[in-house]
Amino acid sequence: MKIHLKIWRQKNQHTKGEMQDYTLTEVDEEMSFLEMLDMLNLELAKKGECPVEFDHDCREGICGQCGVMINGIAHGPLKNTTTCQLHMRSFKDGDTIYIEPFKVKSFPVIRDLKVDRSGLDEIIAAGGYVSVNTGQAPEANSILVSHEEAESAFDAAACIGCGACVATCKNASAALFTGAKIAQFARLPQGKKESAERTLSMVERMEELSFGHCTNTEACQVECPQDISVLTIAEMIYEYNKAKLKK
């Protein structure tokens, strides 16, 4: 296949970026999207040019390190798919593909398609855990968790932290990311003692880090590789109000 690419190139967060044009003539439809970028980078390197910097690691959809806007959509056209799991069979010969970073205020561009998502780590650090030290745990089966509770907690816990929800949100809100973690613990018996503190602290950290408010458009769930439900956002708001009232 012949594929035309328009890719965002930017030296660093202090310089202005721009779209640049490239064309690949021998793209195979069985290639993954990132293997197509590998192909471009090999061509660029051979010409002595700097390759397009992009984040990626596991290439099987679970580490959350990859993620770009493809034709304006986070992770591209397929539903519930990371960039690395997208294959070129989703495009056709002669297509033009626009590739941009997850460009939002809270994810500064590091270079080209690489952005700084450390804000997400900061939100977890604010309280996204059960405060249990190594060695303190009781016998595992002494904490009973019903099948439904475990499964619904898992649905929320499955978040891979890629940031697609933030990138796709008009307000660059991290509500789905934060809500997923809060909902995971709200759906489990573990960590109940600190749930108010956790919720307040995580929500406040999210706001301090200039992530915006939820827009209620539900765009985040549409683009989420793990299909995390927007109901987790509702749960976060419920838990937040509950915690505020208690205070």
Binding site: D28, E30, S118, T134, I143, A150, F185, Q190
Partner: protein, 640 residues
């Protein structure tokens, strides 16, 4: 000069050794702990759990990872589960049985004491993970659920759908973030370790490169822990993440730390087959699928019919036929070799005839589509995303792929390398799995090393370092290490050849996979060594790295990793060449039983090879740690 090596195994009966160790281990008081710094490189399950646990104790931790967040380390990709001896199923499990399964699974090439400790500590890990909120699979009653993995006849595997590694890693990552918030951990993400710094014979720090700026940094500490994972990516095509590498352990090796059993690489039987020359990685399909999936190939060679048109009597369920008591759950080394045998005999399926079928037809008939979807739903959808095929309707096509390094840095019972103050934990060390790792024991080992062993053994080491001041990074040792690291990077950039490191890596991987992969021979290994030496020479003269040293430069990162692989590859071949026996994943064609199984030679090769760097990759020194079996009599491994 080759040395005899001792592993500092505590005295006493097998079941008392770890208790005796803990009873006698030296301590550091809380007010002294906060004055001591520990560097932990790698934030996978081993690194994150060690860093968090040590920080909880009060030590100051510097945690490094090359990814943009600690949560992305490749433990995240482990799918099927984690083993633990809880005997919740009342199916005859015990610590001894788990120890024996692991020892036998490793073909009697691991230390009894280490393997026993792994089984002994396994139960606590499940307690810890549940307390952290890891959503393991549950029965309707609320009790924990189990499934079975290869090489065992009990159900001791705990799982969180097909994302067990992710959930366990998030548990330890969150524990790590909690300590970061408490000010006990400093995170250095997007940092890569380039050199180990040794001062007066002790590990005292590292040289790291900030991958966002290209700046070289010096970091000092009282001890250094390497938790940098395995090096299966050396084969280029593997189930590992693109960034997985051997660089941290290899650079430590070149500073004097021994490499143990480097050639023992597990080739996983159930990964997706290669589909074209551009391919960058092979995706793993969890071994847990073998609980319900049946593996088969057509009986006839070059059978072009689609799978549903091949009648039952024309299918060969070769694992069930050859290993009736374990069937589709035969251990990985055996299942992979059996698949290769079928593919080599012309019975492979798929466009490139490089795969075998993994069929769920019977399981769906028996328990219904819904149950299968609940057990493996995410694996089936992942399979469909990658291949475009619905595995509820037709069988999966799977193929063996490089996966896990049983070898790694040599460590003693304390998980300390032969360089005092340098520890290696998780897949980065060699310690527990012998010549073949059982499924679901990798997550276990990483967690046990990090949560339960390192906190005791590091403290034991640090107890006599209390008087030692904070490491000064302005000394000659740090200066020299930094200079060496920088010099190498400059050589890569100034080489200005025609071939990228990725192209070199693909070539190297092909040599290794063909000659030092699923089966090895004297002739093949000799040939591989020659080719690797030539390729290494070419790499020095013809490497192409665009961009600068002091800048973001992913091509430069790759060059460093491939450069290390070029040396390690030769050591792997030498290790395989000198081990004139077959054991576990190490299968030498010359040494097999009449029916084609691995033939060990206990008289001559019941030892761990611990290779010492001599300054020249062609002439490493082979030290041997004898393996003595006090409690178990090694037998011919049989899964028939």
């Amino acid at each position: 000069m080759a040395k005899e090596i001792y592993a500092n195994i505590p005295e006493g009966d097998l079941k008392d050794k770890w208790s005796n160790y803990k009873a006698q281990a030296k301590l550091v008081s809380p007010n002294n702990r906060k004055k001591m710094e520990i560097i932990v490189v790698g934030t996978g399950l081993a690194g994150a759990s060690a860093a968090a646990s040590l920080a909880e104790m009060g030590y100051q931790i510097k945690a490094f990872c090359f990814q943009d967040s600690a949560r992305r380390a490749h433990s995240v990709a482990a799918q099927g589960g984690v083993n633990a001896m809880k005997n919740y199923q009342n199916d005859g499990d015990s610590v001894y049985r788990m120890f024996y399964d692991t020892l036998k699974g490793g073909d009697f090439r691991s230390r009894e004491a280490n393997t026993y400790r792994l089984a002994e500590c396994s139960a606590s890990l499940i307690d810890q993970a549940v307390a952290q909120g890891v959503p393991f699979g549950r029965e309707y009653s609320g009790y924990l659920k189990n499934r079975s993995f290869g090489g065992v006849q009990v159900s001791r595997t705990f799982y969180a759908r097909g994302q067990t590694g992710q959930q366990l890693l998030l548990g330890s990552y969150q524990a790590l973030m909690r300590q970061k918030e408490n000010g006990k951990v400093s995170m250095y993400t997007r940092h890569e370790m380039l050199e180990l710094v040794v001062v007066d014979g002790k590990a005292k720090g590292i040289i790291a490169r900030n991958l966002d700026t290209g700046k070289i940094e010096r970091h000092g500490a009282h001890a250094v822990v390497l938790a940098t994972g395995g090096f299966g990516k050396i084969y280029y095509l593997s189930t590992l993440a693109m960034g997985c590498n051997a660089s941290a352990i290899w650079r430590a090796h070149k500073k004097g730390s021994w490499m143990a059993n480097p050639s023992w690489t597990q080739i996983h039987p159930t990964s997706l087959p290669q589909s074209g020359p551009y391919q960058s990685k092979l995706t793993l399909m969890s071994e847990s699928l073998r609980n319900d999936g049946r593996i088969w190939v057509p009986k006839a060679q070059d059978d072009q019919r689609p799978p549903h048109e091949i009648p039952e009597e024309e299918r060969d369920y070769y694992l069930e036929r050859k290993y009736p008591s374990f069937g589709n759950l035969a251990p990985r080394d055996i299942a992979s070799r059996a698949a290769k045998e079928q593919i080599d005999a012309g019975k492979g399926v798929g466009a490139l005839k490089n795969a075998v079928y993994l069929d769920f037809k019977d399981a769906i008939k028996e328990c219904g589509k819904e149950t299968i979807a609940e057990r493996y739903g995410n694996l089936f959808s992942m399979y469909e995303k990658i291949t475009g095929i619905n595995a509820y309707k037709e069988p999966m096509k799977i193929s063996p792929s490089a996966h896990f390094s049983m070898g790694g840095l040599w460590v003693d019972y304390d998980l300390m390398t032969n360089i005092p103050g340098l520890f290696a934990i998780g897949e980065a060390n060699f310690s527990d799995h012998g010549a073949n790792r059982l499924g679901a024991n990798s997550l276990l080992q990483a967690c046990v090393d990090g949560y339960y062993i390192a906190p005791y053994t590091l403290q034991n080491y640090l107890s006599d370092q209390i008087q030692v001041a904070k490491t000064d990074v302005s000394t000659e040792e740090f200066y020299q290490a930094e200079k060496q690291a920088l010099q190498q990077l400059e050589e890569f950039v100034s080489c200005k050849g025609n071939k990228t490191s990725e192209e070199f890596h693909r070539e190297l991987g092909k040599i290794l996979y063909d000659k030092c992969g699923l089966s090895r021979s004297d002739e093949g290994l000799q040939e591989a060594i020659k080719k690797i030496q030539q390729l290494r020479e070419e790499f020095k003269e013809n490497l192409l790295v665009p961009g600068d040293v002091e800048d973001i430069n992913s091509e430069l990162e790759k060059a460093g990793r491939v450069s290390d692989y070029m040396e390690l590859a030769e050591l792997m071949c030498l290790d395989a060449l000198t081990r004139e026996e077959s054991c576990g994943a190490h299968f030498r064609k010359e040494f097999q039983t009449e029916d084609g199984e691995a033939l060990r030679n206990d008289e001559k090769f019941s030892f761990t090879s611990a290779w010492e760097w001599s300054g020249n990759p062609q002439n490493p020194i082979l030290n041997k740690e004898p393996l003595t079996f006090e409690f178990v009599q090694p037998t011919q491994r049989s899964y028939k």
